[in-house]
């Protein structure tokens, strides 16, 4: 039972590891983080299996540099490892929590490095769509989010994308776009609200929402 793995007051060493390894694939992301909080290395490995690729893709988009992206991902996962006990109290979904850490690290790094800037931020770079080894789940999820983004008014989408993928602060964006700060703020706000509504809408098919099957 999961109780043994979660509350884990019995079994040690070899036996414990064995039990955990068998159960990890079935655990929700949230249960994994609960194990992380208990210092289970296997849980960290499983979490990386599920989110490493997305994390790396995001960090690469923001940093536009493979080595820096690796740094950001590494720091984010280690930060998750250290702060997992706090996650449990915060009750966001585990995926949101982890991806927020990744984004934060990448943005911190890009601001420190003064990298990127001025490049178009839509769409992936040429020749990168050949990612044939990624999961169907990830592809579906990407299409769903892209679909929602496309339904936003252009200016709102631009503000959100430049902020999230470009790592620009709202005042940098105001400068860059030559708009008053207040305009940028409300574009982000209205845009995110709309995006939330769009993402909540049932997609018609079954929603790939359980958030754990990134490798299936």
């Amino acid at each position: 039972m999961a109780t043994a793995a979660l509350l884990g007051s019995n079994g040690r060493g070899y036996r414990r590891t064995h039990v955990v390894a068998r159960e990890l694939a079935y655990l929700s992301d949230e249960a994994l983080v609960a194990l992380l909080a208990r210092g289970e290395h296997g849980a960290l490995a499983e979490l990386y299996e599920r989110f490493g690729r997305v994390a790396y893709g995001l960090a690469r988009r923001i940093l536009r540099d493979d080595a820096l992206a690796e740094d950001a991902v590494q720091e984010a996962f280690l930060s998750a490892w250290r702060s997992a006990p706090r996650f449990v109290a915060e009750r966001s979904t585990a995926s949101t929590w982890l991806l927020t850490l990744v984004h934060r690290r990448a943005v911190d790094l890009v601001r420190r490095e003064e990298r990127r800037r001025g490049e178009p931020l839509h769409a992936g770079r040429e020749g990168e769509s050949a990612a044939t080894d990624e999961s169907a789940w990830l592809r579906l999820e990407r299409e769903r989010v892209q679909g929602a983004l496309r339904q936003l008014p252009d200016q709102q989408r631009e503000a959100i994308e430049l902020a999230y993928y470009g790592g620009f602060t709202q005042s940098q964006l105001a400068d860059r776009l030559g708009e008053p700060l207040g305009t940028i703020k409300s574009r982000m706000f209205t845009g995110l609200r709309r995006l939330r509504e769009l993402l909540e809408e049932p997609s018609g098919e079954e929603t790939p929402w359980s958030g754990t099957e990134s490798t299936s």
Binding site: G57, W81, S171, R196
Partner: protein, 226 residues
């Protein structure tokens, strides 16, 4: 609502797009504003979904190894923190709101097992107990909630000898009552007591035959006064 500018900053905050000064101002506001906390939880979820959009290659295998290796080198930073009450109040308020929001928008679909709920309760109790009882005879404590629900956290207890278990007792007056069993790991044990801990009682742990006994047969190895 967005009558004043600060609420609107929730979006930029969720996108990590606030300038450092604004960020500090906003965080101060956030700590006191339930509606911003609620909005933020939703916006964070939306922002996290944007992470799925970029395409690209898998990370190099060495990255995984490096992360796991670094984690192995870090001694348990993963101890449930006994944080200051102020912090806890803030996070649990935000947590409650976030949970409600998540339910509302159906993102909480990942079904949480009862085990996990129990685990969360345990951790929540440890993080913010009504009373925290120091153990004498071992390093650790018993965290007791308002309702008497209790969690024992003890570190550096050796594994129970073969054929034996640690048994927890709640002793009221002179009567010890069974309150749970555990086997002991080398680093840290966290055990939820199966019995409430009233004021004035004593929580004690003895070594007993595996499976436990109805009344203690040995002297307590450690105890705490409630």
């Amino acid at each position: 609502m967005e009558r004043d500018g600060i609420h609107e900053l929730t979006a930029a905050y969720a996108l990590d797009a606030l300038d450092p000064v604004d960020e500090r101002v906003y965080e101060e506001h956030l700590a006191r504003c339930a509606s911003c906390q609620e909005e933020l939880a939703g916006f964070r979820d939306v922002a996290a979904h944007l992470a799925y959009v970029p395409e690209g290659p898998s990370p190099p295998p060495a990255l995984r190894e490096r992360i796991l290796e670094r984690a192995r080198q870090e001694p348990a930073g993963n101890v449930v923190p006994f944080r200051s009450r102020r912090t806890v109040v803030w996070t649990s308020a935000a947590a409650a709101v976030a949970a409600v929001v998540a339910l509302g928008i159906g993102i909480w679909a990942a079904s949480l097992s009862r085990d996990l709920d129990r685990e969360r309760d345990t951790v929540a109790l440890l993080a913010d107990p009504a009373r925290s009882l120091e153990l004498s005879g071992a390093s650790g404590r018993v965290a007791v909630g308002d309702d008497g629900e209790a969690v024992l956290a003890v570190s550096d207890l050796p594994a129970a000898p073969s054929g034996k278990s640690y048994e927890i007792w709640v002793i009221e007056g002179k009567t010890p009552r069974r309150a749970g069993l555990f086997n002991g790991r080398d680093d840290r044990d966290v055990v939820r007591l199966s019995r409430r801990v009233p004021k004035g009682s004593v929580v004690a742990v003895t070594v007993e035959p595996k499976g436990g006994v109805d009344a203690p047969t040995t002297k307590p190895i450690f105890a705490a006064q409630a």
